[in-house]
Every structure is written in structure tokens, then in C-alpha cells.
Symmetry: C2
Subunit: 322 residues, 2 copies
């Protein structure tokens, strides 16, 4: 079996491009662009918690990086660099080959350079653990914060909600879907497409933003908490995956749309005076952007109402420790 160091080199070591020094020394060296702030985020993905045992390694390589790039998108930052730490019970060459192929395909497409990493054995009974730290650049003052939403702002969401959660339910055998729908929602779960271009274009337009990783309701709550405001959301306005229409299970649909995680769409707020600008942006990006509610004065309370204006019981976000 090749040694740890040979494995790392073989799959993850490439010549440095924009980095001054890439993988292979005690540290990587990067020269951030003069005058830019660096946006940094770290995410850990655990087998059995964030992904199912047996998940396709190539798709997992994609998704591990995608969820991190999504954090940059939610800040309006340009992806630049990443580090990757991997722990696994045995050094599985076929798995590493596929994982790195998926990782680098998205990295190359997104302008991300892998600058460092660590590969280690986890204890025999343990599972695969992936930790990525991502670095992006954003001009000072331009980052999209959770804390910037104002009462009266529109609440927008990109793309569609609930597909990834439905994909997980399908994977776990809890729902039966047509082959076409099953394939579609599995892709929503395993191959999320981070909304980088949208995030960049929202600089100067959105007042607040977050990505949908834990579920629409829980993630919007973070904007409410940080912005010190409430919100009313029209449940029927929430864009959702078309597969729900074929399923005819409104209860599951509501759970997936409000509390399903892993969609990696962006929720953002913008002044109601900028509605035309947001709609123009949607056309330019060919990405649906739906106005789903309004930020409110007062306590940090999130209300959902139906088409008739009646209150729906609020659904909390996904919490790993609950």
C-alpha cells in the first residue's frame, strides 16, 4: 500500500497556480489581492450524518466543495482557494481517485485552487470525515451579511426548495418516485450547484443573505436573529421542486420545503424599491428568483401564511444535535 504521503501527492498535489506555494510544505503561501477582504468558512461533513454511507465518491467530492463554495456565494465573495482534510479508516485508492476527480472538476470550474490538506486514518470503527476550509475575496464593505436586512425589505429565494430533502427521503426508501423524478431529486441532493454568480451580482443590491443549508425556515431565522427583525413568508410563494406536484403529499412537501436542508439556494433580502433590479438579474442569470415575503419591525419572529392569509405553524431548521 502506498504511504500516506504518496497518496496525498498522487491525488491532491498539483503545481501551484495562483498560490505562491501549494501543497507539500508545512504551510501553503498565498498572496491575497491587495485591498480585498478574505472571506473564510469551514465545514465538516461526517458519513452517516451529512452523507449516506456508500454515496458515490465523485459526487461526494463535488458536494463537499460545493457546500463550502455556497458559503462564499452567500457572502458575495469570489472563490479562490481551499484546504481539504480527510479522515478514513483505510486509504482506499479507488475512492480517493473518484473523490478527487469530483472535487477538482468543481474546483476548476469555480476558480478554486487546492492549497493544502491533511489525510489521516480514522479509528477502525470510524467513518469518513471531510473538512474543507474555503477562501474567497470580496471588496471591503461589499460582503452580504446576515445582519443587514431591514424591516420592509423583500425576502427572495433563488431556484427551488425541498428537492434535496426529497432526494434524501427517496434514498432512504421513504417515498416512491418516477425514475425521472428520482434521478432529478438525487442530483439536487448530491450535485448542488452553488449560486456564486448570483452572490457576486447581489453585491450592492441585497441587504442580507444566507445559503439554504439547514432548511429555509431555520436559515431565514439566522437573518432575523442577526438583523433584529421579524418576517412574514407566503408559503405558497416558495419555489419548490416540480416532483412534489406528482407526489401528492402536502405534509411531506411542507416539511421538505420549509425544513429540508441541502438545497444550497440563496435567501436574500433587498429593498422593495429594487424589485425591478432583482427581476432583471433573474432574467440575465436565467435563474428563477422568487419574492416570498417581507421583513417586519419588531421581535425576531418568523410567520408563514397560506394563500388565504392564515398562519401556518412555523417549522424549525435542522439541528445536528436534536
Amino acid at each position: 500500500m502506498p504511504s500516506e504521503f504518496e497518496l496525498i501527492r498522487h491525488f491532491f498535489e498539483r503545481p501551484a497556480r495562483s498560490a505562491r506555494l501549494g501543497v507539500g510544505d508545512d504551510c501553503a503561501l498565498i498572496a491575497p489581492s491587495p485591498g480585498m477582504d478574505l472571506a473564510v468558512s469551514t465545514d465538516m461533513l461526517a458519513e452517516g450524518i451529512h452523507f449516506l454511507t456508500g454515496t458515490d465518491a465523485r459526487r461526494l467530492g463535488h458536494k463537499s466543495l460545493a457546500v463550502n463554495i455556497s458559503d462564499l456565494a452567500a457572502m458575495g465573495a469570489s472563490p479562490r482557494w481551499a484546504t481539504l482534510a480527510l479522515a478514513m479508516p483505510t486509504a482506499d485508492e479507488a475512492w480517493l481517485s473518484e473523490f478527487s476527480a469530483g472535487f477538482f472538476a468543481l474546483a476548476d470550474r469555480s476558480g478554486v485552487e487546492l492549497i493544502g490538506g491533511d489525510t489521516t486514518r480514522s479509528s477502525t470503527s470510524a467513518s469518513i470525515m471531510i473538512c474543507i476550509t474555503i477562501f474567497g475575496e470580496v471588496p471591503p464593505g461589499d460582503a452580504l451579511l446576515r445582519s443587514g436586512a431591514h424591516p420592509g425589505d423583500d425576502i427572495w429565494v433563488s431556484g427551488e426548495l425541498g428537492g434535496a430533502a426529497l432526494g434524501l427521503a427517496q434514498r432512504l426508501g421513504r417515498v416512491t418516485l418516477s425514475n425521472q423524478d428520482a434521478d432529478y431529486v438525487t442530483r439536487r441532493l448530491e450535485l448542488p450547484d452553488p449560486r456564486v454568480e448570483l452572490g457576486l451580482r447581489l453585491r450592492g443590491l441585497a441587504t442580507g443573505a444566507i445559503d439554504v443549508s439547514d432548511g429555509f425556515a431555520g436559515d431565514l431565522m439566522h437573518i432575523l436573529e442577526r438583523s433584529g427583525a421579524g418576517a412574514q413568508v407566503h408559503y405558497e410563494s416558495l419555489p419548490r421542486c416540480a416532483a412534489f406536484a406528482n407526489l401528492g403529499d402536502p405534509e411531506l412537501e411542507q416539511r421538505c420545503v420549509l425544513s429540508g436542508g441541502d438545497d444550497y439556494e440563496l435567501i436574500f433580502t433587498a429593498s422593495a424599491t429594487r424589485r425591478d433590479d432583482v427581476e432583471r438579474l433573474a432574467r440575465e442569470l436565467k435563474l428563477p428568483l422568487a419574492c416570498v415575503g417581507t421583513m417586519l419591525e419588531g421581535e425576531r419572529k418568523l410567520e408563514f401564511c397560506d394563500a388565504a392569509g392564515r398562519a401556518l405553524p412555523a417549522a424549525g431548521g435542522f439541528d445536528h444535535f436534536k
Copy 2:
């Protein structure tokens, strides 16, 4: 039980100091000092592999950060920021309290600000997993690289070797030591003191450097590989923990000194013309610096010789997959 988010806030969220935006949004925002390169390193520590189950949580908090700071020291970089990702089977408040106390005590002393993190449940059977990414600053061109050593350079090592490995052997019940020695080597194992000040002072003096994480022989081999040179090391010159003198087990001593990991001393190379400068630095820092060998022309071969000049069999570095 408090939710994941409440736990993170309680133990790890502090007001941003030098960061523009700290823990609590999709990303942290930092403004690297103009003109400086950023040194970045990532390390994953797995329970049962990098630390024993039941290791004191406060010491583990210290060590997790120390091993990362040590990577900055080996580059000659000033510590600035870190992110921390933690996976554990259950959210253990007492453990988190102790772990964070140990982490922040060293962070504050080292000028490191925690700017982001992730806390997640690992699957039920899984163990604790810690992933830290560290950021330091170094003027362009001043970083100490593994690749800079030249044939004829002296090879130096700071402090002493083998103590951490002896501490591990003692913890595993493989050796019996006096209480005083046991306490000393346990501290070497659990409370390493990264050589930051030494690294900074070696800018412009050392030609190559690496920290001793996997074992002296294996780590020096990385300098040989990257610098394209060989080395001869005088085994008797290697500084070692005093506890070995009381133990009288030369075979274990050799294994610990050459292949024991976790000492977090610095190995560095410097021109033989700078010997006085290195010795003056040792006096100023009150840190022993031992000249242990010489870089050689030719193939990347590491030879050890005893006091009589006879070759010793070389010992490889620690490899997680072997």
C-alpha cells in the same frame, strides 16, 4: 439540551478583534496586512489515532491548536487567525467548556483569533474529530521552506527529542517511569509549546525548516526530498529528553528520538558560516539549539552515524497508513 448553534455561540463565539467579521455569519472576513503573504495549514486530529480516548479536554484544546501553530513556526510566519471544526458523538458541555478553555488560553497567548468553525455530530459509534485551519503572515520571500537547504549546510534541532513518544509509551503502560519523569513526558506529549519565536527569528538565517510532528528522521527526510540533497546526522548529537538517562533502554530511546512524533521542535538548516548567529540566537531565546549534522551533495539519503562514525540503521517517519 442546548441546540448546536447555542453550543457554538456559548463556547466559541467572541466579539471579533482583528477580524472584520468573526464567528456567526456564512463566512468570517479578515483583512490580511497589506503586502504580506498568508501562510495556511490544516490539520485533522482523530481520537484513537492522534490522541488517546480520555485525554484531558483542556490539554487537547491546547494541543489541537499547538500542532497547527507549529506549522506556522516552521514557515517563520506570525500566527493570526484560525478556524475550528469539531465532530463528536454527543454535545458534551463539560468537555466543550474544558476544550475551549485550553484552546483559547493558547490562542490568546499566541495572538491567534478564532474566526469561524463548525460543530457537528459524528455517527454514534464514531470518535471525536478535530480539524483546525491556521493562518499566519510572512513577508514575501521570507518564508522558511523545506526546499531551501543546500549541501554543506548545518542541520540544527531545537529543544529536545523523544519526550512526547516516551510520554505516549508511558500512557500506554509500556514503560514505568518515576512520577517526576512521567509528569514531564506527559506534558511533552499533551502540552507542546510551538516554537513560534524561533521560527520568526530564523527568517533570513535558516535555509530550510520543518517541525517535528511525525518523527525526526521522517521529517528531515521531507527536507531532503524537497531540497534534492542528502544528510548525515550524528546520532549522539541529537538532543533528547533527560528521562531517557534514567530509563536505560537504548533501543526504545533510539526509536523515540529518531521516529517518535509529536515533539513540535524545529529542524532547520543554515549555512555553516552562520554558526555563531545560531548560537547567539539560542542564548537570546534561552532555547537549546543543537547542531546535529550536515547536508550532503547527491542522492536524497539520510545517514545516521554513532560517536565512532559507524553507520546506524535509519529509522523511517511515522506514517498513519502503515
